[in-house]
Symmetry: C2
Subunit: 358 residues, 2 copies
């Protein structure tokens, strides 16, 4: 780690020019075998690792793709010191009250998809989960490091996005198609919610319909709501109640607590995402409501927790891994052909019927 060796060092030791060293690394078969071996030996001997900075500068491309997601603001606590000795192992009984799992599944899966696709195209992946005030600065910083950037919709100002897009391709994830000149990749939110709601209406014929929305600034939430109203109109249903949610489980719980249940009439609680629906289920179960006889509940997203809940949650499944892949794919496509018209890819979803609303 004392002064990393460079091409020059390798060239010296192998008795060749730096150009040849470069060739051995980039296009080995243009170099005579004997020469090549000398170079490789030198590389090994010196512990040479080419600098991506220098390479990126000279080649004018980094071979890195960036993925920007808004961050886990919750976890800004300093690194907890190992309070206990590692040898001490406390034994605690988990009666179910222990903290819920970190439910960043969405991020995790999109990331996985992005990583896979990046790798397939020979790119490395840089992730950034900006938090707080530094967000815009971070995006700008990342933009300087990569050949293309995927950004979650609504997490960065259009202005900055436009700024960055002058330098590299930008694809917006999970935002509805907008005529902003960017590439877009999203799931079929509207039709998905419409299909689910229609199913609820036609199969269960609820006497009462409650819709729990997401945050006002979420494009996903808006699209889902549109799908919902379309289904409502199509079914000719009147008197729907719309409650304002925020995509959190806690909010779902709060809403369920205040929900007055009519034992005689079937109520449908249609939530704009799974978290909210799970919160609703938490409280409804505790209140002793009969699901799905008395109340049916639905979510949206298809997160793992919905498969394990009791009752299991009926939902619309988004292909999150595919979202990540498609985003990276869109970037590489544009890198290959910058002249491409702005693309807008909408991935299909699937309604998953489970016990909360069969």
């Amino acid at each position: 780690m004392t002064k990393a060796p460079t091409v020059y060092d390798v060239a010296d030791r192998a008795q060749v020019s730096i150009a040849t060293v470069s060739r051995v690394l980039r296009s080995p078969d243009t170099v005579r075998e004997q020469t090549r071996e000398r170079v490789i030996e030198a590389v090994r001997f010196l512990g040479y690792v080419p600098s991506a900075s220098a390479r990126g500068l000279a080649a004018r491309r980094t071979n890195v793709i960036g993925l920007f997601f808004p961050g886990h603001d919750d976890l800004e606590a300093p690194l907890a010191p190992a309070a206990r000795e590692p040898g001490e192992v406390p034994i605690v009984t988990d009666d179910g009250s222990l903290d819920a799992e970190t439910e960043n599944l969405y991020f995790d899966e999109v990331l996985r998809g992005a990583e896979i696709e990046a790798w397939r195209h020979g790119f490395a992946l840089m992730v950034a989960a900006g938090r707080g005030a530094s967000r815009e600065a971070l995006v700008n910083d990342i933009a300087g490091r990569v050949d293309g950037l995927a950004v979650l919709a609504r997490t960065v100002s259009d202005e900055l996005l436009a700024h960055v897009a002058r330098r590299i391709p930008v694809v917006v994830l999970a935002g509805a198609e907008r005529d902003d000149g960017f590439d877009h990749v999203s799931a079929s939110n509207g039709p998905g919610m419409a299909a689910l709601a229609s199913h609820v209406f036609s199969t269960h014929r609820p006497a009462r319909v409650v819709y729990v929305s997401g945050p006002g600034d979420s494009p996903d939430s808006a699209e889902r709501f549109e799908g919902f109203t379309a289904a409502v109109d199509a079914a000719g249903i009147a008197g729907v109640e719309v409650l304002h949610g925020d995509f959190t489980r806690e909010r779902g719980r709060a809403i369920a607590r205040e929900l007055e249940l009519d034992p005689a009439a079937l109520t449908a609680v249609i939530c704009s995402n799974d978290q909210t629906a799970l919160g609703v289920l938490d409280v409804l179960e505790a209140r002793g409501a009969r699901i799905p006889e008395q109340v049916v509940v639905t979510g949206f997203d298809g997160i793992a927790a919905g498969r394990h809940s009791r009752p299991r949650l009926t939902t619309v499944h988004q292909p999150m891994v595919e979202l990540g892949r498609a985003a990276v794919h869109a970037i590489t496509a544009r890198l290959d052909d910058p002249q491409l018209e702005p693309q807008s890819l909408t991935l299909p979803v699937q309604v998953l019927l489970r016990e909360s609303c069969p």
Copy 2:
């Protein structure tokens, strides 16, 4: 995106030298306000984003930390085309037979921790999940892009690790401490398993003890087994059966299928990880075994699925997010002071008692 502007372009437009442009970006308060504003205006007008390659080359540091994990080999399928129209939404009933969730939780959580800690120290995070033959090349490539690298134990040859370590700090994740000169970060596998096993022995006094190991090349598995044998010795237990597992749920199932259960005697199945234990539970439940009256089952890791199983799984919880954080922390510490002695941090674990073995 036509020819990205450089410092020179900005300098021209702002009527200053490139040094001043650099200053405005790196240390704004050393520049007169009026000058600064001219520069900022030019930056904005031109859509200037500094090149991290050039910056990294000049400053001799990238401000990026790398995280290497073995990859999701399963997912190499080409990007599935959107077979259906987005408007078509199939409705399927999920009777529980749909494919199991992608259980890369370990990766996900470590990554999250790493990202957080990297951000706190002002670093970006680059992730790589190498697959197949390209693994070593990938690690080498990443090594050239970052200021420090965290690598999952046993995924890269010692030789390559040593090669890379000549250039940048390397920390090994989840491997037992070894005298290899690298920094290590791991969880307290041995003591954790020992504490759990002791609990099983003293509380349940099983007539028969079955231990299911992990793959032979897993250091985690080896440490856990050591902890187990320590507990066995301490409890003076004889005639333990040790089965060879591989950390997969399927293997757990297979083992449970062949397990002969004596209705009269309590059997303890102690598994070296949660996946295996969940597989055991799957089959035992199906076979109608009474848990925990007739059989007690334990796992190790504390993955989410164990919280949702029936019965819920008793296990040892590893602080995975903390592992990621600690790894990055170790790297930044070494970057700050390269003279540091090789560190070996072992994070504390916790036994979580749930219904499979209260």
